[in-house]
Symmetry: C2
Subunit: 331 residues, 2 copies
DNA sequence: ATTCAGATTGCAACCGGTTGCAAAAATTGT
DNA sequence: ACAATTTTTGCAACCGGTTGCAATCTGAAT
């Protein structure tokens, strides 16, 4: 169907190798033959078959981009950044949606079949074991938004969620709240566990503070709303650290529809600083995760791992920052 | 690096063909050899290289998924649906982000290099010519959310945007609004043009109605907000048909921050019915596009086009439906 | 035991490229 | 003009599979 190397070679009156070399940089071709080849290629509309060449070079430039966060608007930003960055680097994202797949086996098998050069797991809710499965299969892998460990099994790029928890706690304490709630994301997620740990650590050291905690079923609007509605049925705290921004927005919705409002009746601080957080009708105080840096660094790291597949697993952390908006009372 | 056919064949004590046939269905292999092969394969951890096989079969099962809508939350839903559906059908999405790429040439070349079996263009703002470039290159293509035409150049799946415009107009008229605004999406987009046409057609037939119109720069929150702020500076209409939901939310934000509210002071009707539209703190009256059906149908159509590449270009339309929520005054 | 159709198997060529190697051509120095 | 280098070129084997074909095997029927 498509034009092949051979046809171009014939038309240009050169050998197949000559054509091949024209399209591999670093190869030795005289300007004269290169011209001939390029002319013939243009006339025929030839473009080299990347997959065929991957057979011999062992590189497909395909990167598996795996995620299970297809209901969190933050991840649209994440996908945008990843796809652009990968494209800039000449890599192609093969997108894998893990939403209803718990077992790594399937994805592993399929990504092996497509001989991806590497894999980026973009999720804060997938277990570290998931990423490890790729590592064990000798596929370079980076877990973006994954859990920090000082000696990780796989490359990890993200933030120190424990520190984020502390930061949220300090922010709430500094504003004089005395009755404070931790409204976490799904219980099993490492991000939830770590944020809670940091949060409780700081709270434990504070005097005269009452702390309560609960969890939402997912990092989603609905889950955040449901969890907050439940809070509002009992005696609620004065302010909450919510699992993430989309949950926060759900919580805010619950607050408003109960006739209350933030920050007057209840304070909310989220996490992520997704685009929506700064929308005027949301105006969420939150902790910013530097997602662009995380993405760029992940891509850089996966590329480095391609070069040296024995590279020692590395954890890259970026610092977060409180973004003051309108859902906490002022200092 | 990876285990190959040959190694499995040697270990199982059979020919390479036998191994190959074990993994291609419809091929003739005795239960006995199949057993041997499967045993050897399991021991070695073999999985066939899909790309190598694509070389002879001419099918990669790779589908280019092209979009430029990485700032519209609706498209996270769209990507979710597409990736899942494609996976269910054994196809793999190669995601292409067109955000800062206007020229089809580059994407075309790269998708040719990866010999994708077909392409899905998911966008209502890309010009029909874009999709046509693939068609001209003999790559099966479906334009999802594209413009309806009775004799389209390429397969199109979507809604009748002209009818959506009419539907919005009728809805607003039925609620007794007399001064009505069309706050369209980007002027060049076919979706904007068509929705406007239908809208104006109905308005033109109504008596005693004052109509005004303007456009936002993009289907985005910011653009919607900015456009509405501008409206509010002059004499605004009583109700607006906004380009889409995310623009509507931007517009609502502008309305609120001007001390007004919907539907009391201004009515808003959006389009899409994305997940956020039903969030309690948004509660947007809108026109639902059946995106799941559009996605499923697109995948089905691209698969059909794979089978028969001479298939005549077809347009598939799905009907929309007004979803009553709280941003228009009641009937 | 023999025949014969149908199922199974291996050989070898091919898919569209890449690459080590040795021969051929171009360049350099004298 | 000639030898020594350096560059460019084509050959042929290979990457990891598939597939048409002819040979072999199987089992049922005679």
């Amino acid at each position: 169907m498509a034009v092949t190397l051979k046809e171009v070679a014939e038309r240009a009156g050169v050998s197949r190798s000559a054509v091949s070399r024209t399209y591999t940089d670093g190869a030795s071709v005289s300007p004269k033959t290169r011209k001939k080849v390029e002319k013939a290629a243009k006339e025929l509309g030839y473009s080299p078959n990347a997959l065929a060449s991957s057979l011999t070079t062992g590189r497909t430039k395909l990167i598996g981009l795996i995620s299970n966060n297809f209901h969190n608007p933050l991840f649209l930003e994440v996908f945008d950044l990843f796809t652009r960055r990968l494209q800039e680097k000449g890599l192609r994202p093969l997108l894998v949606n893990l939403t209803d797949e718990t077992d790594p086996e399937n994805s592993l098998r399929m990504l092996k079949q497509y001989s991806v050069d590497g894999v980026i797991v973009a999720s804060s809710t997938l277990s570290p074991e998931f990423a490890k499965a790729f590592h064990d299969a000798k596929i370079p892998v980076v877990h973006s938004f994954g859990r920090f460990a000082s000696a990780p099994d796989v490359h990890v790029v993200g933030v120190d969620n424990v520190e984020c928890g502390r930061m949220a706690a300090r922010t709430l304490l500094a504003r004089g709240y005395k009755h404070i709630g931790f409204l976490g994301g799904p219980k099993g997620a490492t991000s939830t566990i770590d944020r809670r740990a940091g949060f409780m650590e700081v709270m434990g050291q504070a005097k005269g503070i009452k702390v309560k905690e609960s969890n939402a079923a997912a990092y989603s609007f609905e889950a955040g709303r449901t969890a907050m509605l439940k809070e509002l049925k009992g005696t609620h705290a004065e302010a909450y650290f919510c699992g993430d921004d989309v949950m926060s927005i759900g919580a805010l919705s619950a607050i408003n529809s109960s006739g209350l409002s933030a920050p007057t009746d209840i304070g909310i601080i989220g996490l992520n600083d997704m685009e929506m957080a700064k929308w005027e009708n949301i105006d969420l105080t939150t902790i910013r995760q530097p997602i662009k840096q995380i993405v760029d660094s992940s891509v850089e790291l996966v590329m480095a791992a391609l070069e040296d597949s024995n590279r020692h697993p590395e954890a890259r952390l970026f610092s977060c920052q409180v973004i003051e908006r309108g859902t906490l009372r002022p200092l």
